[in-house]
């Protein structure tokens, strides 16, 4: 217990605390820190998480609409932006209905058990170099995984306490699925962490501050593949399509939250969208460079401003970092929504087959490959005495070399790493550019189609493959 006071006292004061102590004259005592943290939660986090959820719900409905060749909500507010607000008000005013034979205590407990972990996981997400709620959490990534596994209990209890066959089916399927997919999820995260060497999310962000080729997804080919296995496993772990059997709307009425209405239902809804944001946040922080831009400018300017002690510059860098992080996360959230409204839903046995017989061996092979890669390929070594000690920004590559200069890397014996990273970065950028060009082309050419809503294809002749004489 004696360690905690020393930890609270000696840690380098974060930017916010420094601003508070300098400008407002508040000494950073533990009581003031705790009060500031509580105020941050109440004033910043809770509204931001709710806004994120509301925005995601609106965006999902718009994306769904446009993919299905219709418009989505467009009446309430400018482009339907206030639809979520209207829905929230409606849900608040609904009758609070608890089924007669339901287990009342568990029925009431379940939404909170589902929402609280999703909300608590936000405290480790690195929105900016100094904009993490708890930057000293040395097990950042693992904490998010751990706290999201409590959400499973919330869903199971919701299904059970509703005393409803469909809910119980949904809850059981969901528990199976979420628990099974945690294994490839964890292994994919380990592959990324092995490339990084730290679980602390702020250090991960600083590590990738050298430019797009330092992003951990391009570190070695196994991390590249691990990004995709993580993506698939996280879709299943978040009961998101195509793995949305627990709430499969066309089969189980509404799965485990059939009997929930009003505010209780909105807790589940918020939990799902908050969890989408969180898993996209882990992917961004771990694989896609966190708050860093592709050119490494954030790391460069952060290093400059830190050495010169320019607080205003640091604050601006932080704000830009938050913007970049949120943009990347929302891009990944868009991909999740895109996949949901494109792919059909497999059966539960197909889902578990994909987990145990496809993703798990693949993840294990990636783990083995990444471990061998770490052993054989010489890494860029940072001249910090102890990894993870003290200042997270000691992982910033700009402090020790120029990350875009081949000769700097060669001087440290990390030629293979640099070449592989550049190669993978080129592949990644080319793939991204190709996909974006394709989407853009589809968007542009789709506008010219006159027959969209009013002229469906005539189906009086079945395709050849279905007709057998």
């Amino acid at each position: 217990m004696a360690l905690i006071p020393s930890l609270l006292a000696d840690s380098a004061p974060t930017l916010l605390q420094r601003l508070l102590s300098d400008r407002l004259g508040l000494t950073p005592s533990p009581g003031v820190n705790a009060l500031v943290s509580l105020a941050l939660i109440a004033v910043v986090f809770l509204p931001v998480v709710s806004l994120v959820a509301m925005f995601s719900i609106w965006w999902e409905r718009k994306v769904a609409g446009h993919i299905q060749s219709r418009l989505g909500p467009n009446r309430v507010g400018p482009i339907g932006l206030l639809q979520s607000l209207a829905d929230g008000i409606k849900l608040l005013l609904k009758e609070d209905l608890i089924p007669k034979d339901a287990d009342k205590f568990l029925f009431r407990l379940a939404p909170y058990l589902a929402f609280a972990p999703a909300f608590a996981a936000f405290l480790a997400l690195p929105f900016g170099p100094d904009m993490t709620f708890e930057p000293r959490l040395s097990v950042g990534v693992f904490w998010i995984l751990a706290i999201l596994s409590i959400e499973i209990m919330g869903v199971i209890l919701a299904g059970w306490a509703s005393n409803n066959k469909w809910s119980v089916y949904g809850a059981m399927r969901e528990a199976c699925q979420m628990v099974s997919y945690e294994i490839p999820l964890g292994i994919s995260i380990i592959v990324g962490i092995m490339a990084a060497g730290t679980l602390n999310m702020v250090q991960l962000g600083h590590l990738q501050a050298g430019g797009i080729h330092t992003w951990l997804i391009y570190h070695n080919p196994f991390a590249f593949a691990a990004f995709f296995t993580y993506f698939i496993a996280s879709l299943a772990s978040n009961k998101r399509a195509p793995f949305d059997l627990p709430e499969s709307e066309s089969e189980l009425v509404a799965g485990f939250h059939t009997e929930y209405s009003g505010l209780r239902f909105s807790f589940f809804f918020f939990a799902e969208y908050a969890a989408m944001f969180i898993i996209a946040g882990i992917q961004t922080a771990l694989f896609l460079g966190g708050w860093n831009d592709p050119f490494g400018l954030m790391g460069y300017f952060y290093n400059q401003f830190q050495t010169s002690g320019n607080d205003v510059g640091l604050f601006i860098v932080n704000l830009v970092g938050v913007g970049i992080f949120v943009t990347k996360v929302l891009g990944l959230v868009f991909v999740q929504m895109w996949i949901r409204w494109t792919l059909p839903r497999p059966r539960i046995d197909q889902v578990l087959y994909a987990c145990v017989k496809v993703l798990l061996p693949l993840a294990c092979a990636l783990l083995l490959g990444a471990a061998v890669w770490q052993l054989l390929v010489p890494e860029l070594s940072f001249p910090t005495a102890l990894p993870g000690a003290g200042d997270p920004s000691s992982y910033n590559p700009w402090r020790y070399l120029h990350p875009w200069n081949y000769w700097d890397w060669a001087a440290r014996g990390a030629v293979a790493t640099f070449v592989m990273q550049m190669l993978l970065a080129l592949i990644g950028v080319a793939g991204f550019a190709a996909t974006s060009a394709w989407v853009f082309y589809a968007f542009v050419s789709g506008r010219n189609l006159k027959q969209r809503l009013t002229d469906p294809l005539p189906i009086d002749k079945a395709p050849e493959s279905l007709v057998k004489a």
Partner: protein, 193 residues
């Protein structure tokens, strides 16, 4: 007001948090023992495990706390809940212990409680400053694969044995499929499923 907040020291904060988590663990454990509905006992067990996880966080053992949440709350407890839900006759079956059983349980429990409390109060616990020089996780990893390698490997062998046993038990018997007649419907089914 600011002076009041300023006067809250680290000790107060840690004590307050300790009481919070201890109350959560102890209260939930009490709920496990007292509750009459079997699913509710499992839910109270969740409270107890999360409380213990919080206590680990207070002791600065962050990795252990996260592992506690993942393994216990997210794994073992799910298993227990499955077992409870799939084998209970109805959601509302209640325990109805007889008075004699309750008296025996209370007496044994109180004897144990008194013994434990007296033992704890009489021992002087040497509080040792932790020797954390590097990143705690780095030290943990080095120790796990260095000093404590054999227990680590034995634990993984044990887990392997458990997995094989569970897979064998859950396998079930496979029936020999009988010849089915080929109708048009079954052909379509075979082609499109």
């Amino acid at each position: 007001m600011i002076a009041l907040v300023d006067s809250i020291s680290d000790q107060t904060l840690t004590t307050a948090l300790f009481y919070l988590f201890a109350l959560l663990s102890a209260g939930s454990a009490l709920g496990v023992a007292i509750s009459r509905n079997i699913v509710r006992t499992a839910v109270f067990l969740l409270g107890a495990l999360v409380g213990v996880g919080g206590l680990y966080f207070l002791l600065n053992a962050e990795f252990l706390a996260a592992v506690q949440l993942v393994v216990y709350a997210g794994g073992t407890l799910i298993l227990i809940i499955f077992g409870v839900m799939l084998t209970s006759k109805s959601p509302f079956s209640r325990f109805e212990p007889k008075l004699g059983e309750v008296m025996i349980a209370i007496s044994i429990g109180s004897v144990l409680l008194i013994a434990l409390v007296m033992g704890i109060l009489r021992t002087t616990f040497a509080s040792q400053e932790l020797n954390i020089t590097t990143y705690p996780l780095v030290q943990l990893g080095q120790v796990l694969l260095g000093d404590y390698l054999i227990p680590f490997e034995l634990a993984s062998v044990l887990l392997l044995v458990v997995m094989i046993g569970a897979a064998y038990l859950a396998k079930g018997r496979r029936e020999i499929p009988q010849r089915r007649e080929r109708t048009e419907a079954s052909e379509t089914m075979r082609r499109w499923s």
